[in-house]
């Protein structure tokens, strides 16, 4: 009895700060933003209850909202497909026991350490149509580089390329996943005469699916929350071509001061993130191979 009560007391002391923080910084904003999403609110005047109007406006009247949804899906899907291919490819190469492996790994990882503001400025400058190094090199190869950030066609691919450049974190996670694959499987396959492509298709890829799944979910969630890059580099332009979900939300909240509408956008974002997480984890059983099952 006595030990139970002292256990409870210590639990209260150690976990208490989290409970307080949870109430103040998670539970309160969670319910408050749900409430704001049913109001018209600009901070200066009191919130005015308008029922589901914000959601109705969002789905049926706000064209810009649909533009931002389209842009975000374009960005997310392109990033997830190309990012996953590049990252697995590089991780598979980095997994080989070769000279200078540590140096290679460092080169691929350093972009992760560059603060977003700095990397955004670097990429504006690198992609400068006349004076940037990218178009200079394209020209040297006999190609005409596009107007990148100033072009409605190329602005999204440009931001995807930049995101893949900064995806060293995913490479590290894939690398760790590759190292978990038991060596004896590879040796057995080699004895059976399987070539490198067969080995990759039938051993590496199936055993890597949990890690791929994880990175896909993270990539999707990241895309829907992405903000700083487009805010700094393009402000959503040209012609809203890089207006992503997170940026659109920010503009409504802090530039138009439409806090109620922005809260509705935030709640939809929350639903989308929950949906991705649940759908993908439910689909897990279908196509992901877990060794223990």
């Amino acid at each position: 009895m006595n030990t139970n009560r002292s256990n409870l007391m210590w639990a209260g002391i150690f976990v208490g700060p989290w409970v307080l923080g949870f109430l103040l910084f998670t539970a309160y904003p969670f319910f408050a933003s749900l409430w704001y999403s049913f109001t018209n609110y600009n901070i200066v005047r009191d919130a005015e209850f308008i029922g589901l109007y914000n959601y109705e406006f969002m789905f049926f009247k706000d064209i810009v909202f649909w533009v931002s949804i389209g842009n975000t899906f374009y960005f997310a899907i392109t990033l997830v497909i190309f990012g996953t291919i590049v990252d697995i490819f590089l991780a598979a190469l980095l997994n080989r026991k070769i000279v200078a492996r540590a140096t290679y790994r460092l080169i691929y990882f350093i972009p992760v350490l560059v603060p977003t503001v700095a990397s955004s400025l670097i990429w504006i400058w690198v992609l400068n149509p006349q004076r940037g190094i990218v178009n200079y090199l394209l020209e040297a190869m006999g190609l005409v580089g596009p107007n990148w950030l100033g072009s409605t066609t190329w602005v999204k691919p440009a931001l995807v390329i930049m995101a893949i450049w900064g995806s060293g974190r995913a490479i590290i996670i894939f690398l760790a996943g590759l190292q978990e694959i038991p060596r004896h499987l590879y040796e057995a396959a080699r004895i059976d005469g399987a070539g490198p492509i067969t080995v990759f298709r039938h051993i590496t890829l199936p055993l890597l699916t949990p890690v791929i799944l994880f990175n896909v979910v993270v990539g999707l969630i990241f895309s829907f929350q992405a903000f700083a890059e487009s805010y700094i580099m393009t402000q959503g332009g040209p012609a809203n071509a890089s207006l992503f979900y997170g940026l659109n939300l920010y503009f409504h909240a802090f530039e138009n001061l439409r806090m109620g509408y922005a809260s509705a956008l935030a709640w939809l974002l929350f639903m989308i993130i929950m949906f991705f997480t649940l759908v993908v984890f439910r689909g897990t059983r279908r196509w992901v191979y877990y060794e223990n099952e």
């Binding site: 080169i107 006349q130 700094i232 909240a253």
Partner: protein, 293 residues
């Protein structure tokens, strides 16, 4: 036993053609890693090289791949064009206080979840993990309004204070480490009459150094890079952190790529240096937890 002998046999019978193929494979790996490596390193090369160019040279078409007269004075010049020391001081204060907060709160809270027994502990822990699904955008608006009402806008407090109440990601990270420390150590101390606080402080915490290093690295990098937080809460130029200051610099002097790149270099360098010191812990932290945005 059987399989080992087979491997030995195959190794011995390796033909010259096999060896040639292996060498070729190795060469291919290097070719790809180096090729992609150059692409990945290019933006950082362009950053550093541009930061050494003269203002007139920056706009040359086609650009020089290396400055004719490297101009190191660009770095001190930045300090005169923008209030660099003020920004640095604010960034420094933010990083130090947030790290202290994260360190104290999370070591405490995670201990409660990993090494104390209390009813519904694991259910509450699932709630901790669930808070990670709530996007920043949902908290952002109510927290902004609340901080506005208590007069904390334009101070670092909204950015610092929440870190004193724990963070789901760090709680998860530290809990993983706490669980690897044998319970017998705590039990022995308990028999000797030590209370939970003494066990935490003098028995368990000294064994947590690697995990604490990981936490400090993540928190320092996260707060140093943070853009949207300071963007929302800080109004006046003399309150800005470096990330907001650098972006302001860009909006005011958008054509001074010599100085912008010099400033970006100075902003990035501390993170790279820190990474070199804590590389192993940092990579370990990423693979253990998957992500850190």
């Amino acid at each position: 036993m059987n399989s080992t002998s087979t491997v030995v046999v195959t190794r011995r019978s390796k033909s010259l053609a096999d060896r040639g193929r292996e060498l070729l494979g190795r060469f291919g790996v290097h070719l790809f890693l180096a090729g992609f490596g150059i692409i990945f390193a290019l933006p950082l090369y362009w950053l550093f090289m541009s930061s050494l160019k003269e203002q007139s040279e920056i706009f040359k078409v086609p650009p020089d791949l290396w400055p004719v007269n490297p101009r190191w004075m660009n770095f001190p010049d930045v300090l005169e064009v923008i209030p660099f020391w003020t920004y640095l001081g604010n960034s420094f204060a933010l990083v130090v206080w947030s790290t202290i907060g994260a360190l104290i709160s999370n070591t405490f809270i995670a201990y409660g979840f990993a090494r104390l027994n209390w009813p519904y502990r694991d259910q509450v822990f699932i709630l901790v993990l669930a808070t990670m699904m709530l996007p920043f955008q949902v908290r952002m608006i109510p927290m902004y309004i609340a901080f506005h009402q208590i007069g904390w806008l334009n101070t670092l407090l909204p950015l610092i204070v929440p870190s004193f109440f724990g963070n789901a990601f760090y709680i998860f990270l530290l809990r993983q480490f706490y669980r690897t420390i044998p319970m017998d150590l705590s039990d022995a101390a308990r028999v000797d009459g030590a209370n939970e606080l003494q066990i935490f402080w003098s028995v368990v915490l000294p064994l947590m150094k690697p995990a604490i290093t990981t936490l400090v690295l993540f928190e320092v990098i996260f707060t140093w890079n943070d853009f949207i937080g300071p963007l929302i809460y800080l109004r006046d130029n003399d309150r800005y952190t470096l990330s907001i200051g650098l972006r302001t610099f860009f909006t005011l002097y958008g054509a001074r790529w010599d100085l912008l790149m010099a400033c970006s270099t100075m902003f990035t360098l501390p993170m790279v240096i820190m990474f070199f010191f804590g590389q192993r812990r940092f990579i370990e932290g990423i693979t253990l937890t998957g992500i850190k945005g």
